[in-house]
């Protein structure tokens, strides 16, 4: 028994690189051999789906991209799934970005969904306004007058030449607001400077780490529904019936979580054994 306890304590201070190897394998293997576990949507993802379902053809949705390559795996699947849902319902999509990288993410998502899948027309069905530095000051500017912040769109066309920009002057003219956000500026700023002051229905998709910071807004009704990280994206993909990159990552996600939980439990067992032995001597 004593030898077994020695082994546990020694394993407690395992070299970090062994743990790195284990996690690498645990994530790679399910990518090659998918398990296909079924996905069960939580009600916060369902609320986002219902909010978009309520929109009618021709409604105007403002989608804002506030994430970059470093959080793309969590949020890009959500943006793609949301654009699919919006274009499916022929909603007019207006895109702004509060992060410089957001502009590139938006271009990629539009190329994949608007151009290749739904063959939508730029300037009539969707427009990419692009990035402007200034964080919440940009949102405040958009709430009062879009044409002060954006005189040209991301491709250099004048706003007045874009048909779908006619009689769209401020955030209040939109029927729906969605922020795919990975930090500051992001969801919190959109609630504070756009959703609350104008009352436009707002949902959001955030990185898993930011979900908790935003939950009180959901409970008090300032935000309608939230997609949390890659699981949130997978749930939304299953709701619109078009599985994408979010779903394919779920098996690796599940197995990795099991392993991390095992690490925590095992790490604490060796911690207890060590502490009880220290008390004895």
């Amino acid at each position: 028994m004593e030898k077994f306890l020695d082994y546990i304590v020694k394993a407690g201070s395992l070299d970090r690189r062994v743990i790195f190897l284990v996690i690498a394998l645990v994530v790679i293997l399910p990518l090659f051999f998918p398990l296909g576990l079924p996905i069960r949507p939580t009600n916060s993802s369902q609320d986002v789906y219902n909010a978009v379902e309520k929109l009618k053809a021709g409604d105007k949705a403002l989608v804002s991209f506030e994430y970059g390559p470093s959080t793309k795996p969590e949020i890009h699947p959500m943006s793609v799934a949301l654009l699919r849902h919006l274009f499916q319902k022929d909603v007019k999509v207006y895109i702004t970005c509060l992060w410089p990288d957001g502009q590139f993410m938006a271009m990629e998502a539009l190329q994949q969904v608007a151009v290749n899948q739904y063959d939508k027309e730029y300037g009539v069905d969707y427009v990419l306004l692009g990035y402007r530095p200034g964080a919440e000051a940009v949102i405040k500017g958009l709430v009062s007058n879009i044409r002060k912040v954006f005189t040209v769109d991301a491709r250099g066309n004048f706003l007045d030449d874009i048909p779908m920009m006619k009689d769209v002057n401020q955030v209040a003219d939109f029927d729906y607001l969605f922020s795919s956000s990975a930090g500051y500026p992001g969801t919190v700023e959109w609630v504070q400077y756009a959703a609350d002051p104008t009352g436009v229905t707002m949902s959001t998709g955030t990185t898993s780490i930011q979900v908790n910071e935003v939950m009180p807004y959901v409970q008090s009704g300032q935000i309608v529904g939230i997609l949390g990280g890659m699981p949130g994206a997978a749930e939304y993909e299953s709701l619109i019936g078009q599985p994408g990159i979010g779903t394919s990552g779920m098996d690796a996600q599940s197995v990795a979580h099991l392993v991390i939980v095992a690490f925590i439990i095992f790490g604490n067992i060796s911690f207890f054994v060590e502490r009880r032995r220290a008390k004895k001597y």
Partner: protein, 287 residues
């Protein structure tokens, strides 16, 4: 009713506004009236308590364990002859947490001047570098050791979040500081820093109000100033009447918020049961 001057000013503002209101309040956004009064009341409470502190009234503030640890940590670094690493967060001076981080830095700089310990402050924003450098220079001056201060004690790495985290990790691995202090606004790079600090066996004290980073600091650091404790820390360390008055003021405001919540629930219950007609939730407009 000690502060005559405060109440007279408050009274005149109130009267003036009433006159303006009854004159038809031109150009006033009426839907936001509740917020207007909220700002005046909350601002008034804060100003009143700050003036109370400035008058030198004795204000009791409870002890915060994390702060005593800051002194121990600098002491430990002095004994081991190793530098103190101070990370003021990755955001700019327009973030209040960064400003609180610079205030706490000023105090830590006083200690490193007194104990002659070397201090290393890598920053990720040019404006923070300027503010942090001047704050350290002032602290070394106050402690009478301007000779110990050199400009590159506070140095800029990069604006980008993860290049900065990698840069700070490089410094930790090369200089092996005995104490790592993370005071400011952090995002996902907090674990990178805390994990590397853990691996070199440094005492780690963190202070941040970013709710998503606190769990990591709580689990991987020896002490964590959670949210408001971090703001109160800058009041503690600076012993400035305004800041202590501010903490006191916020305590009053918390009491007001709690009473409003409980009262709100009770009144809302009466409204739902039909005993009273006044719908409080409709009144508390969020615009």
């Amino acid at each position: 009713m000690k502060d005559k001057q405060f109440w007279s000013v408050a009274g005149t503002i109130f009267v003036l506004f009433m006159i303006y209101w009854f004159l038809g309040h031109p150009h006033f956004v009426v839907e936001r009236a509740v917020m207007f009064w909220a700002i005046l009341v909350v601002g008034g409470v804060l100003i009143y308590s700050t003036r109370m502190a400035q008058r030198g009234e004795k204000i009791f503030l409870r002890s915060i364990p994390g702060l005593k640890a800051v002194e121990e940590a600098v002491g430990r670094s002095t004994e081991m002859g190793k530098p103190v690493l101070y990370v003021p967060g990755i955001m700019d001076m327009d973030q209040v947490e960064t400003v609180a981080g610079v205030v706490v830095l000023g105090h830590v700089a006083k200690m490193t001047a007194r104990y002659e310990t070397s201090l290393n402050v890598p920053v990720s924003r040019a404006i923070v570098m300027k503010a942090a450098r001047e704050s350290c220079r002032e602290s070394y001056l106050i402690e009478g050791r301007p000779d110990l201060f050199h400009d590159d004690m506070v140095h800029y790495l990069t604006d980008d979040q993860f290049a900065y985290a990698a840069g700070v990790n490089g410094i930790m691995l090369r200089e092996e500081p005995a104490a790592c202090l993370y005071m400011g606004k952090f995002y996902a790079e907090s674990l990178l820093l805390a994990e590397t600090g853990n691996s070199i066996g440094a005492i780690q004290i963190a202070g941040t109000a970013s709710p998503s980073q606190i769990p990591f600091f709580v689990t991987a650091c020896d002490y964590t100033l959670i949210g408001e404790e971090f703001f109160a820390a800058s009041a503690y360390l600076s012993q400035e009447p305004e800041l202590i008055g501010g903490v006191k003021g916020q305590d009053y405001l918390k009491m007001i918020a709690i009473t409003m919540m409980v009262l709100g629930a009770v009144i809302n219950l009466f409204h739902d049961l039909g005993w009273i007609s006044w719908d409080i939730l409709g009144y508390l407009t969020v615009q």
